[in-house]
């Protein structure tokens, strides 16, 4: 009830004819979503440590706060209190701006996603397309950060970033096109509506797998963490990112996971649909399970090599995504 009234109040504010009021409510919405995102990111920073610790027969953080819940806060405070240092040959402005840009992209993408049926920042008809257009900038910013740092490891990470995009972007766009085909449009609300009877994960399982793999790469999760590659490139594109910006990068890890899990649950697991519980809770539960799965993958795989990523992209994912498109087309029209 309460959630419903807040929803309708916010939506009315966003849709208000007065531009100023509309902008005010949009900003308020953005702040609320950012808070949700930060809480989720913080929580998963802790969950990941605990889950991976379990997989490794360790205890994980258990000293700072109850069950080590404040460990990440302590880390964050430490990093924020640190001095920002740039190497002498780095372009400090480009590095700082692209780090902020990377986080902004994630926030923007989450803002574009409708989190409940009654409330969305925009009901823009091409929302799905816009999400992936915006997301396409993130490897570019990653490249800028790595390249501007003037560090050879950063540069190598940046190069890998670009190479990976070549590997996975085309299958991604084909799968997104298939989703639009099945939903009959690029509206994200429409995509969720089209999954009322059958989630897309069941309609196009191949597409789901391709999308999941690509999102892993997009989120820089293992086994696709080649740009960061801590045992190879020290920290890849993040090698010379320091202090608060590194804290931002750590946050980015989990905000991106939130974004990816949300995208997967919205596009393939029928989003907020579910009995009894409010829609937002269902969406978060689905995202939570997806995130948990991503974390478990991290605990058990070794990293892929860059040429194998390209191979995977071109030899497996691309044909699979095309096959997925054809099969879905036949199912829908036949």
């Amino acid at each position: 009830m309460l959630i419903g009234s807040i929803e309708s109040f916010m939506q009315a504010g966003i849709n208000s004819s007065d531009v100023l009021v509309s902008i005010l409510f949009l900003v308020l919405y953005a702040v609320l979503v950012s808070i949700l995102m930060s809480v989720y990111a913080y929580l998963f920073g802790w969950i990941e440590r605990k889950v991976i610790a379990k997989a490794q027969y360790r205890h994980g953080p258990n000293v700072v706060g109850k069950y080590g819940l404040l460990q990440n806060l302590a880390d964050l405070v430490k990093l924020i209190a640190k001095e920002v240092r740039y190497p002498s040959n780095a372009d400090s402005r480009a590095m700082a701006l692209s780090m902020i840009g990377l986080v902004s992209i994630v926030v923007f993408v989450i803002l574009l996603l409708p989190l409940t049926p009654g409330l969305a920042a925009t009901n823009f008809g091409l929302g799905l397309l816009l999400v992936f257009v915006v997301l396409g900038f993130s490897p570019l910013l990653l490249f800028i950060t790595g390249f501007a740092s003037g560090n050879k490891f950063g540069e190598l990470g940046a190069q890998r970033s670009v190479l990976m995009v070549i590997g996975y972007d085309i299958p991604l766009i084909i799968v997104v096109g298939t989703i639009a085909l099945a939903a009959g449009g690029f509206s994200i609300t429409g995509v969720i509506g089209a999954q009322q009877s059958l989630p897309f994960a069941l309609l196009m399982p191949i597409g789901f797998i391709v999308f999941f793999i690509v999102m892993l790469a997009e989120m820089e999760r293992p086994p696709f963490d080649l740009r960061e590659a801590d045992s190879e490139l020290i920290a890849g594109w993040l090698t010379d990112v320091s202090g608060p910006y590194y804290a931002l990068a750590l946050m980015l890890d989990y905000t991106r996971m939130f974004m990816g899990s949300l995208l997967i649950s919205i596009l393939f697991l029928s989003g907020w649909a579910g009995p009894l519980l409010p829609p937002l809770v269902w969406l978060l539960i689905k995202a939570f399970i997806v995130s948990l799965f991503i974390i478990i993958i991290r605990a058990t795989v070794v990293r892929l090599r860059i040429d194998k990523v390209l191979r995977l992209g071109w030899i497996y994912l691309l044909p699979l995504s095309i096959a997925n498109l054809l099969v879905t087309f036949i199912i829908l029209k036949g």
Binding site: A55, Y57, Q159, D230, S231, E232, V302, I306
Partner: protein, 363 residues
């Protein structure tokens, strides 16, 4: 155009303080140059200033992943120089402890290898978990977890206690179940196979020419093992299989170590069966030894990383000169040879598959 990057001496996966200067052609390795010496302590010189039995603690710090093997080698060298016979029971006990040490070392290797490939410490922690059980056994036998100093001239510091055999056999039964788990965990992982099979191939002839030894050599198809070809203690009376694989790649080097762990467990079981009753304690540590003048001895042992060799010119009360042939130092030479032409990401698994311990390289 080649890019030159400098990896280490401070880097997550150089196994200690190793500096690699890598020339990259794009992402392909054109040349790797290991720079060593960051951990040089001058042990060989230090030994010359110490009485014979004052040196074992220094020796253990050479190969800190398998400390007892180097300790035992040094004590054996001294025994040979001074002409001291080792008690039969002590010989068996040394074999048992050394094989335990070998298992612990290989578990460490598996963990470090997965870490080099970018697994988030899971393999590492798994390896450490089981290594810990072995270390606990060694602690039971010697009183220390890592640096034991439990060899005396002619025997051990103390005999095994009554339950030790049972504890070891119990742990071996447990390990028997754990090793298939590693195999399942790694060998069924397509990415692990992709990243190790056919990567860093060291051909048979090259392996011989480069002088590598130990698992690295045996993985290239040469079944040379000091325990078998130049047996010491009672190794010649045990029937352990000759081991070699023909792949010569990182995967074979990993696989061979898993096989060796199994073999070590068999050796341990058999040694316990054959171990005679009696006493195994060695001589009390004496500062004054019977005088020896310029007697030259060489002793070779199969330590977990290969053939370690000590050459000693025995002096009066102190070694006149001690020279150590470290297997790791020589195995590391093969790095440039086998890493050339591979991608940068493969350099770390290749280095990891050589199982380097920098303390033993730099001495």
């Amino acid at each position: 155009m080649l890019t030159r990057i400098n990896i280490g001496p401070i880097h997550p996966s150089t196994h200690g303080v190793l500096r690699l200067v890598v020339d990259l052609d794009g992402d392909t390795i054109a040349n790797v140059e290991p720079h060593i010496g960051f951990l040089h302590r001058g042990v060989e010189k230090l030994v010359e200033t110490r009485m014979y039995m004052q040196s074992p603690p220094y020796m253990e710090k050479l190969d800190y992943i398998a400390p007892m093997s180097v300790d035992e080698l040094y004590v054996s060298t001294v025994e040979k120089a001074l002409g001291i016979e080792v008690k039969e029971r002590a010989q068996y006990q040394r074999m048992i402890l050394l094989e335990l040490q070998r298992i612990a070392s290989h578990l460490f290797f598996i963990g470090a290898l997965t870490n080099d490939m970018g697994m988030m410490f899971t393999g590492f922690m798994w390896g450490f978990r089981d290594r810990e059980l072995i270390l606990r056994l060694l602690e039971e036998a010697t009183g220390q977890r890592m640096f034991y100093v439990n060899m005396r001239l002619g025997g051990m510091v103390n005999d095994f206690h009554g339950d030790f055999e049972q504890h070891v056999l119990k742990t071996m039964d447990y390990m028997e179940k754990r090793i298939p788990e590693y195999e399942k965990f790694l060998e069924k992982n397509p990415i692990f196979k992709q990243r190790t099979k056919g990567v860093g191939v060291l051909k048979r002839d090259d392996a011989i020419a480069l002088g590598v030894s130990g698992p690295v050599l045996r993985a290239s198809g040469v079944p040379y093992d000091v325990r078998r070809d130049n047996p010491y203690y009672f190794y010649k009376e045990l029937n352990f299989r000759e081991m070699s694989l023909n792949g010569g790649d990182s995967f074979s080097r990993y696989r061979l170590r898993v096989m060796e762990m199994r073999e070590s467990m068999r050796i341990i079981r058999e040694s316990f069966r054959k171990m005679p009753e009696g006493d195994s304690t060695g001589q009390m540590v004496k500062l004054r030894m019977p005088p020896v003048k310029n007697k030259v001895v060489t002793v070779a042992r199969e330590v977990p990383r290969g053939e370690e060799l000590m050459y000693m010119v025995a002096g009066d009360q102190k070694p006149y000169r001690l020279s150590i042939r470290s297997p790791v130092f020589i195995n590391l030479h093969a790095l440039n040879h086998i890493a050339k032409g591979h991608r940068l990401a493969d350099l770390y698994p290749i280095l990891g598959s050589l199982d380097v311990v920098m303390a033993d390289v730099d001495r």
